[in-house]
Symmetry: C2
C-alpha cells in the first residue's frame, strides 16, 4: 500500500461523470474537498485494511476493484463482498472498533482517503451527505442479504450463476466496460469463487465446468462471460435491484 498526499482535486475527481454515479453538486464538491487527506494506491493483491486492526481512514474507491473478506481463526475465509468504483469503504466495521474484515485489491486500485476522526464533523455539517451514506448503507445491507440467501439456500450451480450475474450487474452499474455487454474482465480465481460461495475449490471448479457444458456461463481465468443473461438470471433466481444512480463520497 502506498499512501501519497499528491492528490487530484475533487473538482477533477475521476468519479464525477462516471456512468451509474450521481454527480456531486458544486456545493458538496467544495465541502468534501476540505476533508480529503490524500490518496492510496494498491497493486493487485495489496491489502488496504486488515482484520483485527483499527483503521484511521475512510476511503472512497476511485478506480479498481476490491474484495472484502473475513478470516476465521483456523484459516477458513469468507468473502463477503466486492467493491467497485464509487463505493465507500470503511464504515462497514463499526467505528472505533477493530475491523472484522480485511480488504484487498483485485485489480490495481486508487482510493481517496478521509480521516476517520473528522467523520462526525462531515456528517454533521452536511445532512445531505449523511442521508446519502445511510442510503448507501441500506443498499449494502440489501446486497448482503441477497448474498446470504445465495449462501444458505442455493446449490452449487445456482450459487455460481448467481455470483456471475451479480458481478455483471454490479460492474455495469459502476460503468465498467464489457465487451458486447457479455464479457466481464475480472481476474477472480476459483479459490475466490469457492471462498465467496462456501464451496471447496475442487467443487467450485467442477461446477464451473458443468455450467460451461450447459452453455449457461463461461468463467475462464480473467473473464466471466454470460452468453444469455436472462437464462442465467432465471436459473439463479436472481432478483435484480433497481439501479438508480448511486451517490458517492
Amino acid at each position: 500500500m502506498q499512501r501519497q498526499s499528491a492528490t487530484v482535486a475533487c473538482a477533477q475527481c475521476p468519479l464525477s461523470g462516471r456512468k451509474g454515479l450521481r454527480p456531486l453538486t458544486p456545493d458538496l464538491l467544495g465541502f468534501v474537498q476540505k476533508f480529503k487527506e490524500g490518496e492510496v494506491q494498491l497493486e493487485r493483491g495489496g491489502l488496504l485494511l486488515e482484520q483485527e486492526k483499527r483503521s484511521v481512514h475512510l476511503h472512497t474507491l476511485l478506480e479498481g476493484v476490491l474484495v472484502r473478506f473475513l478470516t476465521l481463526e483456523d484459516g477458513r475465509r469468507q468473502i463477503v463482498n466486492f467493491m467497485f468504483p464509487g463505493d465507500f469503504v470503511g464504515f462497514q466495521g463499526a467505528f472505533d472498533d477493530k475491523l472484522n474484515h480485511s480488504v484487498q485489491a483485485l485489480l490495481p486500485a486508487r482510493l481517496c482517503s478521509f480521516g476517520r476522526r473528522r467523520f462526525h464533523e462531515l456528517v454533521s455539517e452536511h445532512p445531505a451527505l449523511a442521508y446519502d451514506l445511510i442510503w448507501l448503507a441500506a443498499c449494502e445491507e440489501t446486497e448482503l442479504e441477497d448474498h446470504m440467501a445465495a449462501l444458505g439456500q442455493r446449490d452449487a450451480r445456482e450459487k455460481v450463476a448467481y455470483m456471475a450475474v451479480w458481478l455483471h450487474d454490479r460492474a455495469a452499474a459502476s460503468g465498467i466496460s464489457m465487451l458486447d455487454g457479455q464479457h466481464l474482465d475480472l481476474p477472480i480465481t476459483q479459490a475466490q469463487i469457492a471462498d465467496m460461495l462456501g464451496l471447496s475449490l475442487v467443487h467450485a471448479h467442477r461446477t464451473l465446468k458443468a455450467l460451461a457444458r450447459d452453455g449457461l456461463l463461461f468463467w475462464t481465468p480473467g473473464r466471466i462471460s454470460l452468453p444469455d443473461r436472462q437464462r442465467a438470471v432465471n436459473f439463479a433466481q436472481y432478483a435484480g435491484r433497481s439501479h438508480k444512480q448511486r451517490p458517492f463520497i
Copy 2:
C-alpha cells in the same frame, strides 16, 4: 397487524433506561416526539412488512422479537436476522424501492412508527441522529458479515452453536432477562433454525440432538440453554463484538 395512534409519549418510552441502550438526551427526546406517528402491535407470527411491497413507515422495536427473511420464487426461505428491542426497522430495504425481505413477529411485539416521508427531514435536522443511524447500519452490516461466514464456512454443528451463542449475546445486549444467564426463552422452531442456517429441517434436528448429547447446548422448543458459554464460543469460533451501548430511534 394492528395500528393505533394511541401512543405512549417518547418521554415515557419503554426503551429509555433499558439495559444496553443509550438513553436519549432530553433534547433528542423532544425532537423525535415530533416524528412519532403511532404504534403497531403484532401478535406472534404477525407480519410487519412483506417482501415485494413498499413500506410507508419506519419503525423502532419497543418490545418483542422479530425475524427478517427473504423468500425465493420457489419458496425457499432465508432468515437473515433477528431484531431485538431498540432495533431500528426499515432502512434495510433501500428507500423508495420494493422490500427485499419480510418481517415477522417471533414474540408479541410493539413498535413505534415514523413516516418514511419525513425521514429526510429527521436526518437533516438532527445530525447526531444521522450519525447514530450510520453507526447502527454499520453494526448491522458487521453482524450480517459474521452470519455469512457462518453460512459459508461452518459445518452444521458449528452453525447451530454459532447461532445459539449469537442469540444469547444479542438478547443480553438488549436487556432480555435470562435464567442464570444461561437459559434464553425464545420460541424458535427447528424449521426456523434450518432456514437461518441453510440446513434441512431434518438435519437441523439431528444436529441439535448431537450437540445436546455432547452437552454443548440444549435447544428445546421455547428455550436455548448454554451450560458452558465459553465452550460453545470456542467450538463455534464465535468472535464476539464489543457491545457498547446502542443508540436508538
